[in-house]
Amino acid sequence: MTPLRHHASSEPLIKVENLCKIYSLENGGNGTVNSQVLFDVSLTINRGEFVAIMGHSGSGKSTLMNILGCLDTPTSGSYWLNGRDIAKLSDDELARVRNRNIGFVFQGFNLLKRMTALDNVAAPLLYAGVSRSESRKRALERLQQTGLGKFAAYQPNQLSGGQQQRVAISRALVNNPQLILADEPTGNLDTQTSGEIMTIFQQLNREQGITIVLVTHEDDIAACTRRLVRVKDGRVVHDDEVPA
């Protein structure tokens, strides 16, 4: 399997076409009820972009993020990541894509409990087959990058929300992904901490050219990005540059 990052950079990083997602729910013995969440979503994101996806709750933005993150599969439509058709990948290959090409940052941090910050950051490398000493070394570098080098031995419940989110960002970065997907990364944080986290994202995007896609419903967070996509009732209703 060729690592995706070696593909020609002229290609868009993300290309989705006519994406639909329908959830089938069991309706207490009366058969199933279908509920469509995404309607013919098409979207292209190039390398190095910093995109905010905005929408109310229930607009389908989280579902879109999950599909982009290879955590969920679309009902119909196609998704190319780095020119690769994601629909054709097996479960193991999807796991590999999540491991090597995508870094996740969640609203609720989603750190592994009762593991040190260092072990949390090193966890993706465990599944990448990197040796223990090498992964600890790389994890420490990433923690230092987000300014948490001193907290390597702390467990998540000993850290503040902002610190936990920095650990999560370090973890997202540890395997050098081209894409970071952040689902309301500042949703649980106060304004000042949110600003600090957004500064980290901006630096990563500007200095390292990492593509970042971020879901939010806050205008001032979206204002930190360079492109705004609005989703409403499962459709893309707005897609434009963010005025500087």
């Binding site: 955590l71 193991d92 999540r98 592994l112 966890a123 599944y127 040796s131």
Partner: protein, 407 residues
């Protein structure tokens, strides 16, 4: 995927929940300890039975007189002395027979100095000790000349020797049997209990002729109480039985339709029954113990299922950062396996300790073999894999997005 790193993750998860891990392991420990202990006791019982059977001598028949009827009254076997020494000699001449020993037996009082002891006196031929595979501790077996002369010589069993002589060496001394003086020719080595629990060493042996003429007296000249017949090998046992029957029918002039005045008993068949019973017992003990191991396994499955549900979100996070299904499966399977292997090792140690305690406290023979321990260990591991697989499979089959959303 780094296998050793996943072992590390499994161990970490088990350490985080020490109490739960310990309790789950306890089920395994008890199960494995019970299996080891029961197998050890069962094997011990088999060994005891086998030793008792070996002490009887091999390929043996006992020929008993009796089962005669006079008129309508039937007496039990042995009630009439219909066998004689010449019957024994005739049987010894059969092709499938190695040797025969005529016996006459009864209880008598023995005196030596101020000590006296009542024991079983048995009249035998010198071949008896070879048939029974019974060696001398000191002295010698009486000779054929002694037999022909009906000499007053005696060979003592070790219990009898101890009771009459204490620490003294009886060989060459004179004991009185029913007040007649006998010279002690030797003392037998201790043989222990017989199958029916009698002390075989509480005995005295004299030439059969001496027994007939000087101690017990006989109904007819030369009659004996019963005889032991040893076949040449285990293969000719059936043939030998037929030959003995035919010869005795002929010698005793028993016509078709008349009841036999003798009974031939095959001791090998008797031994097979005893061995079979011991085997069944040890199998049954093992089966009962396996039930507790099974219960322990179900406990593991139960806890692992709870653990998978509880840790759904953790599984989702691991999948999001790149764990494939095999990595998740491996981790949960390893958790179950580690519980079983550690529990199994502790159980084996406790089982061996328990077996030792039983052997000391109840004075029982217990036997622990390497195979037994290996079996218990293999069984424990199999239980871990079997009962750990379903929960692990369940964890691995979770959809990443659903597992992540789980509250």
């Amino acid at each position: 995927m780094n296998f050793f790193a996943i072992i590390g993750e499994a161990l970490r998860a088990l350490r985080l929940n020490r109490l739960r891990t310990g309790l789950t392991m306890l089920g395994m420990i008890i199960g494995v300890a019970a299996v080891v202990l029961m197998l050890a006791i069962g094997q011990g019982a088999q060994t005891t039975v086998n030793q008792a059977i070996a002490s009887m001598g091999s390929n043996l028949f006992i020929v008993l007189p009796g089962a005669t009827s006079s008129g309508a009254l039937r007496s039990g076997s042995g009630s009439v002395q219909t066998l004689t020494i010449s019957d024994a000699q005739a049987i010894a001449g059969l092709p499938s027979i190695k040797t025969t020993v005529p016996l006459i037996t009864g209880t008598a009082q023995l005196n030596y100095g101020a000590n006296n002891w009542s024991t079983v006196v048995t009249g035998v031929t010198p071949d008896y000790f070879e048939v029974r595979d019974w060696a001398m501790e000191s002295g010698e077996i009486f000779s054929d000349a002694n037999l022909r002369a009906a000499a007053r010589v005696a060979i003592l069993g070790s219990t009898t020797a101890k009771n009459l002589f204490g620490e003294e060496d009886p060989t060459g001394k004179i004991v009185r049997i029913k007040n007649s003086p006998f010279q002690v020719a030797g003392v037998l080595v201790a043989k222990g209990q017989s199958l029916d629990g009698r002390d075989q060493d509480d005995s005295v042996f004299v030439p059969v002729t001496t027994g007939q003429r000087q101690i017990f007296g006989t109904q007819f000249p030369g009659s004996i109480q019963f005889m032991m017949v040893q076949a040449r090998s285990a293969e000719v046992m059936e043939e030998a039985e037929i030959e003995i029957n035919r010869l005795l029918l002929q010698r005793h002039r028993i016509a078709e339709g008349m009841e036999n005045d003798f009974t031939v008993r095959n001791l090998a068949a008797l031994a097979a029954v005893a061995t079979g019973a011991a085997k069944v017992m040890s199998l049954m003990l093992g089966a009962i113990a396996s039930v507790s191991l099974l219960v322990g396994g179900i406990g593991i499955m139960n806890i692992m299922l709870v653990s998978v549900t509880e840790r759904t979100r953790e599984i989702g996070i691991r999948m999001a950062i790149g764990a494939n299904r095999r990595a998740i499966l491996t981790q949960f399977l390893l958790e179950a396996l580690v519980i079983c292997i550690l529990g199994g090792l502790a159980g084996i140690a406790i089982g061996i300790g328990g077996a030792w305690a039983v052997s000391r406290a109840a004075d029982m023979v217990v036997v622990i073999t390497f195979g037994m321990v290996a079996l218990a260990f293999a069984f424990a591991s199999a239980v871990g894999i079997f009962f750990g697989f379903y929960p692990a499979k369940k964890a691995a089959a979770l959809k990443p997005v659903e597992a992540l959303r789980y509250e």
